[in-house]
Amino acid sequence: MTILEKLKKISHKEPGIRHFCIQTIRFKKFLENARGLLDLFDDGSEKVLGEYIFDRHYVVSLIDSVVERLGMMVYDACVLVPKSGEGLYAAYDEHKFTAGNLINANGSGKSGSIALDTSGSLEPEYQLLSDVLQWFNGKDTPDEPTVMGFMKQIFLSVIQFDAIGGLEAMDVVKTRTRALLGNSGVAASDMGIYLVDLWKDAQALPKEKRSINDFNSIPLKHLLMDISGIDAKDRLNRMNKGINWVAAVSEYQLSLNSLKPDFQFRLETLASGYEQSDFIFIFADKSAILDKILPAGFHIESTDYGQFAWNLDMSAKNIEDSLMIIGRSLLS
């Protein structure tokens, strides 16, 4: 048997659940890159206020970093949803072109003054940074697309909720996920949630049925903290109503997805106890009333297709409280 044949044989044996785990982990990577971009926006916004001294190298390196991170997001998106590749790379090329123009144009003079030189003109470095920030997150138009607008487009592609696929595409994904979990032998746990251990289950699924208590996941425990006391009868009722959620977990991570056909909701969180990296990210359809589901402090962005919400740099207590409130809202 040739090496190629052996590899083919192994890949045929690879359980579908491994693919599910890999996709979930890749989505985490995708979110890390998105977060990196938001940090770059914040850094530029802080520096443009006039308090800092910086030179052209700083702005050029900021532009380069944004282009690099954006490229990583596009790459992740293409791994997650290969069919999105062509359109995203075309849009990415346009942003690279804009970035090149910004570097070469040395500031357009369109923005308001922030740091003036002795003649009352805006310093060219500040003008350039101001233009760069407009490109990041100014008014998004077809002629002048912003990086933030493109990020939203990438997100929508990744969660397969684009203008072409819409709700139907998401329902297809859900049906496929449900079938994958069923066929792979992932046992539906109590509380009406499919549970997947991101690292262990990718290697081998256990034969015996598992309970939520068998999973050592801090964010999952926080999510269920307020509702874990429900009695066995209620749990049975929930089971009979159907399994409507899938939660992929590790010790510090939780990826919670709705499987209900009429309710789009995806929550991603990292609760490692390290404030600088911990976060909660949510995508929900337009009908979801996020104000009622989420505690205060979340940044919410609405698009034509759904809502994004996130909270970054969260303390351990903030993560715990937020997940508890979200869990109560969603799962009670």
Partner: protein, 138 residues
């Protein structure tokens, strides 16, 4: 009346000199600004400055060369290096050659003023800049 600190500021990016000079003037420094390292070195040959603040990466001459020149000519002068490239090898090289301190771009004027105050203290000519706020410099 105390003597003003004589400071030479060298950076090939004009914005640095334009924005730092007023910030240092406010703490009583007498600042001469240069964008061309060769012109700065020529001036250093003529005059002993208390403090030389220099960018590390410049076209014709880098900050390490400026540091070496200052030390040969005026061993008492404190040299502070501005770097936008947080490169450990360059930092180590400069530390080995006796640079007084580093500051990485982007930075606030007050960050540099603190380092200048430390250098003044080391020169035996302390300055009081407690009344200076961290306000934007125009």
């Amino acid at each position: 009346m105390t003597k003003s600190l004589e400071v030479l500021l060298l950076d090939d990016e004009p914005i640095v000199g334009r924005r730092l000079k007023p910030a240092l003037d406010k703490i009583g420094c007498r600042v001469e600004v240069f964008e061309n390292p060769k012109e700065a070195v020529a001036r250093i040959d003529q005059k002993e400055f208390d403090i030389v603040v220099t960018d590390i990466r410049m076209e014709e001459m880098d900050g390490i060369q400026v540091l070496e020149h200052v030390q040969k000519k005026w061993p008492r002068t404190k040299v502070i290096i501005i770097t936008g490239y947080a490169k450990m090898d360059l930092a180590r090289e400069a530390m080995g050659k006796g640079v007084f301190d580093f500051i990485a771009k982007p930075f606030r004027p007050d960050d540099l003023r603190r380092i200048i105050a430390n250098a003044a203290e080391a020169l035996g000519a302390p300055i009081d800049f407690s009344s200076i706020n961290d306000e934007p410099v125009e």
